[in-house]
Amino acid sequence: MKKLLLAAVALSAFATPALADPQASWNVTGTVAAQCGAIAGNDADLAFGSLNINASDGTLAANGSKSTTSQDVYCNGGSSTISVAATPMTNQTNTSAEDSNFTGTINYTTDVNFAGSHFGVGATQSLGAKAGTLVVTASNLTANNSKRPYAGDYQGTVTVTLTPGV
């Protein structure tokens, strides 16, 4: 009986430290906010200057393209979107209405090249996480309804909006 008691005491001495060994864990967390870098607009980049006119009939001739200076931009969210809007160039000095021969509106094609991906005019186009250079190009100038453009100064606007999304 005495031997049994001593054995029990001895066993309990070994078992007790193992059951009391503490464990703890900590989660290390953080949040990277979805965001896009700012794009700088530039007044001079898409200025075509004096437009080429076909002298024989006054229609708009080919005028090539103009592009903005390349700039580095990013969006870090996988659901980021890009919206591109463009207003036609309209005559700022002669606001006469379009008639059967002349127009005060010149249309053009807009292209936004963001890190090799091209975006035309459109709202909320899927972009994803992307980083690289961004260049805006205006090209293919055409007088509205293929009419002759009124003389004067023309202006339109391309608006590029980056919207971050996770």
Partner: protein, 190 residues
């Protein structure tokens, strides 16, 4: 009650802050696209110079078919307000003789009118006074077209009158070839 309002406000502010930081959207970038169309006029396929020519026979009388003769200029345009001008030389023997015999003439004045561009037709009447004639160019009053325009232009000649000398002689034209030049010009402006 006021404690709950305070907590709610704090929560709202905290949420607003969280939303802002979660989606940091840059402002839209605007790129002006600009160009300029210069004021331009064109006389279409023609140069604007019209030649009136005829041959005066021995009887010294002008061919009556010259009266009312018309010329048409096609495809004129101006992309801005414009001014049309007509100028002309008299109808004169070509080549002129050095000495015009007494009682004869080698020049005839006439009127030319351009219809189809300005609301008031442009016209000019040559004003030669010597039976010998000259190479003088006579200019009419400029006429305004206040809008951009495309049109065809009709130029008519008429009212031919032999230039009579100061002594009253010279009703008869020297026979031979005669010509006059009418010039139409279109320029932007008002």
């Amino acid at each position: 009650m006021s404690g709950r309002i305070t907590i709610s406000l704090i929560s709202a502010i905290a949420c607003a802050g969280a939303i802002t930081s979660a989606h940091a959207a840059p402002p839209p970038a605007k790129f002006p696209v600009s160009g300029k169309v210069n004021s331009t006029c064109s006389l279409g396929t023609g140069s604007g110079a019209l030649l009136v020519s005829t041959t005066v026979p021995a009887n010294g009388k002008l061919d009556p078919s010259l009266e009312g003769k018309t010329f048409t200029l096609s495809g004129l345009y101006c992309d801005a307000p414009s001014v049309i001008r007509l100028s002309a030389t008299e109808l004169r023997r070509n080549p002129p003789v050095d000495k015009v015999p007494n009682g004869q003439s080698q020049a005839a004045n006439f009127t030319t009118t351009a219809v189809g561009w300005s609301s008031i037709a442009a016209s000019v009447t040559t004003g030669e006074t010597s039976p010998s004639g000259s190479a003088a160019v006579f200019s009419g009053t400029p006429r305004l077209q206040s809008s951009a325009k495309t049109a065809n232009l009709t130029v008519t000649v008429g009212n031919f009158t032999t230039v009579v000398g100061s002594n009253g002689n010279g009703q008869k034209l020297i026979d031979g070839p005669y010509s006059a030049t009418i010039t139409v010009s279109l320029t932007p402006g008002s």
